[in-house]
Symmetry: C3
Subunit: 351 residues, 3 copies
């Protein structure tokens, strides 16, 4: 990434409270405290790295208001209430520089079917394919090699990154982001056993993605058998996640990488599923529940519960079991010791 | 999806046995019992939802022959032997409406190498790439952005969805379906440790996909080191599955999402692997075996066996262990109680 | 694959030490000992298959120097120090025949932005998209439908297979191979909780892939929040792996299929992660550590350690626990037996 900011520009962008020291360097990169060099900006986002600040070579360091050390010569400290938020403001500015809003229009190398409707303010990249009856909303941006199937609808201000694919009839509402290679609307995995083979059950439903959802790279979301698979408003889904047919995901959930949700599962609002979780079919995960990494959910989950393990247990129970599990060698020895003291022969002799 | 059927048309399509009540609504959607509204068709596929039928607002409900309630005013009950099969018939009809067989021909935006052979009845979509020596069978349909490598062969009546990719030399027999982004013929993961680095072992084999196989979205199937990786007739593979080099999968297996099969594994006919299963290399999973979700298979599996756990155990043993595992806190307390009754000091005094 | 070698050509390619017997067949395929037919070449790479050699019908069998059986009539034995290495030499030769180095040049169906720089010796396949400011090195080969984003840099002798995608600003050094559908530079999964929703944290860093790295099919590697995600020299990554933002992977590591590495993890040189491993965020896996399949790493790993289990334990401890875990039904019975001998009532009576 190529950018350049003076220290005065940085202070303005992040809304710095107070400053200490000074630098004449222009800032051309951001780096962690331990790797920063002159010309870099660094920040203390987590108190655990506080001891790395004095040796940090960055030209500017963003620090919390209560940090009381002194900058090195030619180094500027900028103090703010929340360094992470300050850094995010700077990153947003850099992002707009790196990736300016493209001009509206359709790349001559895109293939648009005659009956597709493309908003005049939308941007369609090279080698996109948009099929009959599809619609693309205002200011939507389809990057290169995107596919939008027949009668699919992409809302306003959506961003579809290279190679993202939305199959026929599926709907993305507004401000949805699809990362590279995301698949919306593959067939659900449904078969009936019939005369010695698996007969495909037609999958004629769609996928509905509500406002402000983000879907990760190469994640797959299956269309419903009928009706719809739904991802609720504001939910964020990471890379390589599998969402099966007829799943209903609520609002503002987080679903981390490589998690798999089986068919007809309901996930209520604000639930968080960590990485590599599996959820069996037809279950409900209650509002605000938290499922830790690699957990296998095989029963309904109460609202607010935190689960861990495969099969899943309440978090604290599973933590306790994991501690005791490691003591199994000891427990077997203790039982053997007891048995030696009171051997079976002796007991029968006593009887 | 947009369609419209009169009640008479519905009765004919599903082959209804008997009817009760009547509706003048045309059917324009399918919905579950709890969400259906007038103009929808619903069905009772699972007896557990029987109590939802009386309150269901659908204009038509498909019911088993022995359901004996009465429809609401303006509502039609259609009774059949198997509501799920009846619904599948209707869905098939809708699918044909939504996705009519395309006209044969090659889209002008497809790139076909000079020596590729395309059957006259095949349909090649926009931005497909078909390389030298590849062949595409009768009535095969390649949707948009599909890739078929050099000397690969696609059989009759195959359906390759957008962005599916078949690498050089790989073979799909007849009626194979590849979902969006499926990869057939990536290199196997093979290296030899040589002078401090991993030296790539050439992967010169192919992938053979037999008749009637379906491969899920973004699933990857590696070509063999030499000879071939095989997916047998009628086997169905879900999304995001990994099949490594030289794996041989038999006929009519089911392999669910995010499962990974290591190199040179043999899976015999009719086996079922649930989601997120892992299978270590060079093993055999016997005919009709069932592997439950998240199981880790690290030894050969007998035909017909059902396994669970990581590492895998026989299903009933693993179920028993999981129950006892949750009682570990109690067991540790019980052993401690026994030890307090018979402390080590006392024992040594007795000795 | 189509090729044909005389027995004399085979002996020369593999550098055979000694020969026994003779064949007039030309070799047109490679097969395992148990499946080989006349016209095939087979080999004994693993002593466990030694008993299959006498019945093997291959025209040529590559054998270790100390194998002392006699070939069948019309069969040739070629003895070498290491049959696997000999086979790899033959496979390399066949690979060069099957996939000759393509002629340099840009396919007329590729879309190259005006300010992209393409080395004259590079080969750019059909329907590739290369954006402004990107650069492609000497002899690099981009197969069909590859995407290279703005200001990304692809080094010399790289091979990007169909549908591989390198997002803006990302860097591949020399001799990097991307398998089909690999994604380099998707956004990291970063959000801040703000006023009841998840606010996206801009991801403005890049991905740096060093020399001689290979990345598997449909694997995803996220760009850094800032600075860079790094994959070190010579590391090999399998299919469907997830590498999150700001991960630093050292040199000559192996990361097997479906493994997921959370954000800001450091993996030191020569580490090996088997399939379906999960690693929690901000951890360090030490040099040369080995993590077995399906393990969940939730703490730093010492150099050279071998871990197993979810959560991870030292390998031998986990093996021991897994044995004892299967004996839990027995242990519960043993404790019950002890309790029956010494019931609580009796104890209190004694007290």
């Amino acid at each position: 990434m190529e950018f350049s900011f003076t220290s005065q520009e940085i202070a303005t962008i992040i809304g710095a409270g107070t400053a200490r020291g000074a630098t004449t360097e222009t800032i051309r990169d951001i780096a962690s405290l331990s790797t920063a060099r002159p010309g870099d900006l660094s920040f203390l986002g987590n108190p655990k790295y506080k001891t790395e600040v004095p040796a940090c070579a960055a030209s500017i360091i963003i620090l919390p208001l209560d940090y009381d050390g002194e900058p090195r010569p030619g180094q500027l400290y900028l103090h703010v209430a929340n360094p992470s938020v300050a850094l995010a403001k700077l990153c947003s500015r850099i992002e707009r520089l790196l990736r300016p809003k493209p001009a509206p229009g359709i790349h001559p190398g895109a293939l648009i079917a005659p009956t597709a409707r493309i908003a005049a303010s939308a941007t369609i990249g090279p080698l996109c394919v948009i099929e009959d009856g599809a619609s693309i909303g205002e200011r939507a941006h389809l990057e290169a090699q995107v596919f939008v199937g027949a009668r699919a609808a992409i809302g306003d201000d959506c961003l579809l990154m290279p190679g993202a694919r939305v199959a026929s009839e599926c709907v993305l509402k507004n401000r949805v982001r699809l990362q590279i290679g995301a698949v919306i609307g593959s067939d659900g995995f449904g078969y009936e056993w019939l005369d010695g083979h698996h007969e495909k059950v037609p999958q004629i439903g769609r996928v509905l993605i509500e406002d402000d959802v983000e879907i990760g790279a190469n994640t797959t979301i299956d269309r419903a058998r009928f009706s719809q698979t739904v991802v609720g408003q504001g939910t964020k889904i990471d890379n390589l996640v599998q969402i099966a047919h007829n799943v209903i995901i609520g609002k503002h959930c987080l679903i981390c990488s490589q998690t798999g949700i089986s068919g007809s599962v309901t996930i209520e609002d604000y639930a968080i599923l960590a990485g590599q979780v599996g959820v069996a079919g037809h279950l409900t995960i209650g509002r605000g529940a938290k499922i830790t990494a690699q957990t296998g959910v095989n029963a309904d989950v109460a609202p607010g519960a935190t689960l861990k393990g495969s099969p899943a247990n309440p978090y604290l129970l599973e933590q306790r079991i994991n501690v005791l599990r490691q003591r199994l060698p000891e427990l077997f020895q203790r039982v053997s010791r007891l048995e030696k003291k009171f051997p079976a022969e002796k007991t029968s002799a006593n009887a």
